[in-house]
Amino acid sequence: MGVWKFVGRRILLGLVTLWVVSVVVFAATQLLPSDPARAILGRDATEASIKALQEKLGLDRPPVEQYTSWLAGLLTGDPGESFNARVPIGEYIGDRVYNSMFLLVLASVFSIPLSLIIGAYTARKRDRAFDNITSNIMLALASLPEFVVGLFLVLLFATRYWKILPAVTAIGAGGPWEHLDQMILPTATLVLGAVPYIARTARASIIEVNESDYVEMARLKGAPEKTVLWRHAVPNALGPVFQVIALNIAYFAGGVIVVEFLFNYPGIGGALAASVRVRDTPVIQFLAMVLAGVYVLTNMLADLATVFVTPRLRTRLK
């Protein structure tokens, strides 16, 4: 069936993209720098330690071999060892991956329904007071970098003026579940970054659909408003909305770095920032691939969802 062939092709494309990304990441971190070992250890390193590191990293081996062994390790669940911590990456990062995913999921769970409601409401009350005020606020939120939003939240809720929420997280053992109050600000920061985009796209999509000829036609047939909304409008408004939701989850993949740093949240974002500082190459490579993987996966899902929701595209595949 044409549909499955399309799905297969799309998945293949995603995998190929990820593969190319892995090559680029690996090249940038291990092959391009003229002397990675020296770069990692710094100027003051002794020759002996540099030599030892080179051996450890396998830098004397041919590039292709270095790459394939790294890739193989990645795929079999053995991404290597962190330099800094001198422990296998799995041990070092494992918890953090879980923490970040938790934060991501929490942010998505709140931002998506909130955006859709705001988008739908402003579409209905178009050009009136609520719409105008909201769209200006959204504009401001969309422009602000995440760390600025986070800082303002901290200023507002966590300093002497109004000390309700913790300014930094101190989660440690027990995981984020146990410290939900500490999750509020980081989640809110991410949510405030995503909502403007999703809401704006939802609004535009709903307005476009609302003014379409087929919605007019439904009304002229005497359809009750609820039917007009759910049977005629919503199914056609979904396409762009899926795309933008995927885009935002992907944006979270990047935004999470600064937010985790700001709130000292023990996630992979914070780990990435730290590992960049000390040039902990294996960790950098691994995390870059994880985040890229999230990005590619969500984009792929969005593409597939759009096709399934649009009969015109679906039947073309048959």
Partner: protein, 591 residues
């Protein structure tokens, strides 16, 4: 016959402003009667049609008057009752079903839901039976497979029939049809019109048929009302109005209508209808009317009776403007075989590997106009684009003045490129919006190597030739109307003194009067400049006014080739005969 629809003193305004879109509209329709509402774009006819459903589009307000259907005033109906009336007492057939049908919903569902909204028959079984019934009435398959299709899986004609099915399903008392045959093939149009005629008479429906096409309504409507700039200027029984129009505007419309018989040359009219907010005190048509006098400009003429059941808003009804007097088309002569300017031999055109045009052969003489007529898909545009060097996938021999033409315009010599010029259909897309009209017209000249001064002079000359003034050169396309843009595009085509001008459906996107003016212009230019012209169109009656010879194309082949008189009056091929009989004409009824 009982009066089903009664519109009294209807005024529709721009929302929020005291500016009228239409005003003083009084119309009546009886059961079983079809009233044709005729007007050009911007006349407000669609807005009047929608008011019958108590509906106004965004930015439009139904301000004053009454719109009664069987004594119910649609304008004052509360929301719930309005919803009940729509689709049941009065239905709407949309102009463009490709966008009026929900792309995400199967057509069976879209038809049955109008029955569900009004609880037709009281049971699901009754509704399904009715769906099958109405599908048969519009001559569409009622199989489960067909009903499960999505709109994009249907042809244009089928989509339009679905629109009809939805409208007739609940057996409404009134139906509003909004130009439902726009964009359809002539033969499909003929079928759809026949269906409408049959259903309307069978069900005794009162129908309002909104259109800009006089010919279509001539054979369908019992009575017609002509609208201009938001007012009804004439009303009466169809046959009488066409035989002897009372309002000058109606006469101009008829003079501009393509006439297959050749009894009258198409005549156009310059200027344009005043937009809402820019309408003068007196008669809106006075600024363009040959017969206008001071009395006309004082106040808008009141409706006067000009016959039984006939009304017109003119101070000199029945008077005939000179330009509308019928001038027969000059007889077309057979060309001399000797000095051909363009010759095609064994030309085969493909589109992404598939052959779409087969074995074309003809010659074009200098000063001759050859019309390429065909429905969509006949290959006429693909062929003409190949001649113009815009489409590269073809084989065969094409020569210009004896020298062979390369496939792509880039491979042709400069002389050849300038010798064949192309004018496109869509006036909105053929001029670069970021360039002044003058710069666009000058482009071919600059390429030919002219210096700026010479080019400027030539541009002014060209503008005058197409009846625009030289100051148009500094304007941008957005500042021009559709007709003016098309003239500018023609000016650009003529700038480099071409040997052949290819006109590709250049009038299809224009209003009736403007269209006729462009055809007039082209005919004049051909005479003046001795230009050879290839005129591509789907509108067969049109070619009588401009073409010497006609080539009828179907499925990539030339079915028939002869002089215009021959092909139209004594067609040899079955295809041509069918095409002719399917084409609606004023004064001739199609079966």
């Amino acid at each position: 016959m009982s009066r089903v629809v009664s519109i009294q003193g209807l005024r529709i305004e721009v929302a929020g402003r005291d500016v009228d879109i239409v005003d003083e509209i009084n119309l009546e329709i009886s059961a079983g009667e079809i009233l044709g509402l005729v007007g050009e774009s911007g006349s407000g006819k669609t807005t009047v049609g929608l008011s019958l459903l108590g509906h106004a589009r965004r930015g439009v307000k139904l301000a004053l008057g009454e719109v009664r259907i069987n004594e119910t005033n649609m304008l004052t109906l509360p929301e719930r009752d309005l919803r009940e009336a729509r689709g049941k007492m009065v239905s709407y057939v949309p102009q463009d079903p490709s966008v009026a049908l929900n792309p995400a919903l199967r057509i069976g569902k879209q038809i049955i839901e109008v029955l569900e909204f009004h609880d037709f028959g009281g049971s699901s079984a009754a509704r399904q039976a009715r769906v099958r019934e109405v599908m048969e009435e519009v001559r569409l398959p009622s199989t489960r497979e067909f009903l499960r299709r999505y709109p994009h899986q249907l042809s244009g004609g089928q989509q339009q029939r679905v629109g009809l099915a939805m409208a007739f399903a609940n057996r409404p008392a009134v139906i509003v049809l909004d130009e439902p045959t726009t964009g359809l093939d002539v033969s499909t149009q003929a079928h759809v019109l026949a269906t409408i005629r049959r259903l309307a008479s069978e069900h005794g429906v009162a129908a309002l048929y909104v259109t800009h096409d006089l010919a279509v309504v001539a054979n369908l409507a019992h009575r017609i009302a002509v609208m201009y700039a938001g007012r009804v200027v004439e009303e009466g029984p169809t046959a009488e109005v066409f035989a002897n129009p009372a309002h000058p505007y109606t006469r101009y419309l008829m003079a501009a209508a393509p006439d297959m018989t050749g009894d009258h040359q198409m005549v156009g009219l310059g200027g344009r209808a005043p937009a809402p907010g820019r309408r003068p005190i007196g008669c809106f048509f006075a600024e363009r009317c040959e017969l206008a006098s001071d009395i006309c400009r004082e106040s808008f003429p009141k409706p006067v009776s000009v016959g039984v059941g006939r009304v017109a808003r003119c101070v000199t009804p029945m008077a005939i403007p000179d330009r509308t007097r019928a001038v027969p088309v000059a007889a077309s002569s057979k060309p001399r075989e000797s000095d051909t300017v363009l010759r095609l031999q064994g030309v085969v055109v493909s589109y992404t590997g598939k052959q779409v045009v087969h074995d074309i052969e003809f010659g074009l003489q200098p000063g001759e106009c050859l019309a390429l007529v065909g429905e969509s898909g006949s290959g006429k545009t693909t062929l003409s684009r190949s001649i113009g060097g815009l489409h590269h996938e073809w084989t065969g021999v094409m020569t210009l003045d004896g020298q062979s033409l390369s496939r792509s315009s880039r491979d042709r010599t400069m002389k050849q490129r300038l010798a064949i010029q192309y004018v496109f259909q869509n006036p909105y897309g053929s001029l670069n919006p970021r360039r002044t009209v003058g710069a666009s017209i000058a482009r071919p000249l600059m390429i030919a190597g002219a210096d700026e001064k010479t080019a400027d002079l030539k541009v002014g000359e060209m503008l005058e030739k197409v009846s625009l003034t030289a100051d148009y050169a500094a304007r941008y396309p957005d500042q021009l109307s559709g007709g003016e843009r098309q003239r500018a595009a023609i000016a650009r085509g003529l700038a480099a003194s071409p040997r052949v001008l290819i006109c590709d459906e250049v009038t299809s996107a224009l209003d009736v009067l403007v269209q006729a003016a462009i055809v007039e212009l082209l005919a004049e230019l051909r005479g003046d400049l001795g230009l050879a012209m290839l005129f591509v169109t789907h509108n067969l009656p049109l070619v009588r006014s401009i073409a010497d010879r006609v080539a009828v194309m179907a499925e990539g082949r030339i079915e028939e080739l002869g002089t215009a008189t021959e092909v139209i009056e004594t067609p040899k091929q079955e295809y041509t005969r069918r095409l002719l009989s399917d084409t609606p004409q004023i004064g001739r009824s199609t079966a």
